[in-house]
Amino acid sequence: MKVRTDEFKARSAETTRNPRRQASLKMVYDGLHKGRIAAAEDTHGWDDERDRARAIKWHTINNLDYYLDLLDKNVRANGGNVFFANDDAEAREYVLGVAKANNVKTVIKSKSMVSEEIGLNEAFEKAGINPVETDLGEYIIQLAKEAPYHLIAPAIHKTREEISDLIQEVAGGPHQEDPKDLTDTARALLRDAFRKAEMGVSGVNFAVAETGSIAIVTNEGNGRMVTSAPRVHVAIVGMEKVIPSMQDLSTMLRVLIRSATGQRISSYVTVVNGPRKAPEEDGPDEFHLVIVNNGRENLLKDEQLREAMLCLRCGACLNACPVYRKAGGHAYGWVYPGPIGAIVSPVMTGKKAGRDLPFASTLCGACKDACPVKIELPSLLLRLRSDLSEGKTDPKEASSPLAERLSIKVWRFGVQSPAMFSLAGKLSSLLMAPMSRQGWVRWLPPPLNGWTKSREFPRIASKPFRARFKKKEQR
């Protein structure tokens, strides 16, 4: 997918001015966020389960080479194929190769964020192959030619009117407003693809190293279709999604599904152990697992940022985030929005372009509280801010202008002694006086006007608290 992480300011501003999008974003909070909280409260030992999930993931990530090797061996032992793709181009080329070898004309896809990363649909289209997204939300945004807005609710920003227009453009039927009718129309449209597709492409929620299995979590049933109906199944997985044992799945599914949708379990969890085994007559003849790096090594390399590799892609941090719920999913400019996107997108695709993303947070910590594996999202965001401001990883990436860096130096000098601090306070109060109305500063002259463009702050008191406190003490 084209990286547009450098457009955060413009695209988030656009969303905050769009009342329809703001209404959609409220549903993220009322539906998904509250659902997660209810599910957590309803679960005995919820916090311990999160700790277990975190420990399983940390163990795996710290021994990732071992478990990827084991996964590869066991998928092959089950009769499947494994391909290691270092970047998006390698992954695309391999999947297209499989499609061509099988003379594929139609591909049915269930949700895969990695396939969005590598721009798989465009590659299929260029090769004359028809890719059909079959998750209802993904289908809607494929018709709209847009990127997913949310990790698990990709079309949450679309109103029913917009969805009707998109679906009826294909179906040729009358305008529909009832979600049930729209779903029925989409079901009918997609049936044909399910019947005839020669190849299915899916994502992977967990890849189990010891048994060479993959687990796919869905509610609609499209994940089962994709892995059962066509002759060929290709599963695409980010290299961080491996877990050691099938027995670890129970904990991982519990925390993932509750955090994603608030359900105890999804309608379907499909555990695929390679191609069909005779005398089975449905299920794929060929199974391929594509394990993708595509910039994840940049996270792995850094002992602190490595923690982002624990992510299960449940979307809970998006729902919890006050910034995501205003800025919307497209503002983040790549596949992964919200707090986790603000960390992984710049690191995977280039910090310089994505330099605004780690700053798109209030550091309130709601994301960390929501995270099923307790990722220290605020710390990681702060760390990236520091790297970027000071150009630590690359001087060319330094995002703060010279003036800002100089004024921070002055600030540091000013707060180092009580006398200096007191003097600076008095000076600021005096300087602010002509610019404040009723105790509030609403406008500052250039070059400080950035501060007051979208916020105001109280004027610094003419008599500081310390002076007033002293006076009170004397009384």
């Binding site: 080479d65 019947r195 027995q247 499909t270 390679g274």
Partner: protein
């Protein structure tokens, strides 16, 4: 094209470890349990579940009902067949397909359905058919499953914690039989009920490690659903809209 060894080398370099190494045991994961521990645990699970059968059955029925299953409890295989026939009748369905699951082979389904003029097809080839397995036949079977109105399958495990049933594939078509029709009926006995997902995956892991390799395990909990349009819950997308479980015994 990335070579596997190059890829693993990249991972090791990123982790700051240089060579292939033995990894330290970590009890966060069940991976380090010995083969014996895994199989002993599996036996304990079976014994424990048998002892707690009625309690687990009640819990399963509660959870399964909450998840959207229609539960039918019957005492005999004849009654089970009648319950299945009643659901088929309710829908006026004529195209009915069943998988080749053992529990269904013991049910007098054909006769129960015949009264309504329903031809029940079994999604498996005739044992007398000794022609080569071919793609054409399989594609025809796939077509047929998409034209089926009611699909009937057995159940291999039932999970009380979540109201989930787990199904492993059988000969012929079994995956699509529970997926493509608008109505799915699962037939099960209470001895397939286990407490939670922990026990489910302990058992399937043991199975796999003892060489009993299944192409997949499908966990099904209620009907197909979506909330992709303005977060409205809609039942019945690509999978069945209506799901039934007939519990025999």
């Amino acid at each position: 094209m990335a070579d596997k060894q190059d890829f693993l080398r990249m991972v090791r370099t990123s982790l700051g470890v240089s060579e292939r190494r033995d990894i330290a045991r970590d009890d966060a994961t069940s991976y380090f349990l010995s083969r014996d521990e895994v199989s002993d645990a599996a036996n304990d699970i079976r014994v424990d579940a048998a002892q707690r059968r009625s309690e687990l059955t009640e819990e399963f029925v509660t959870r399964a009902t909450a998840a959207g299953w229609n539960i039918h409890r019957v005492d005999t295989i004849e009654d089970a067949a009648e319950e299945v026939a009643a659901v088929v009748r309710d829908h006026g369905a004529k195209a009915v397909m069943r998988s080749d699951h053992e529990i269904l082979n013991s049910l007098p389904l054909e006769s129960a359905l015949k009264a309504d003029g329903v031809e029940l097809s079994v999604a498996v080839r005739d044992p007398s058919d000794d022609s080569e397995e071919d793609l054409e036949r399989r594609l025809a079977l796939r077509e047929q499953s998409f034209d089926t109105e009611v699909g009937i399958t057995g159940v291999d495990f039932a999970v009380a914690e979540t109201g989930t049933v787990a199904m492993e594939p059988r000969a012929g078509s079994s995956r699509l039989v529970s997926l493509t029709p608008e109505v799915h009926i699962g037939v099960m006995t209470p001895d397939s009920i286990i407490p939670s997902l922990d026990e489910l995956f302990a058992l399937t892991r043991d199975q796999h490690l003892s060489g009993e390799h299944k192409g997949m395990v499908n966990l099904i909990t209620g009907p197909s659903r979506t909330a992709d349009i303005e977060a409205n819950l809609v039942i019945g997308v690509h999978g069945p809209r209506e799901v039934h479980l007939v519990i025999v015994g």
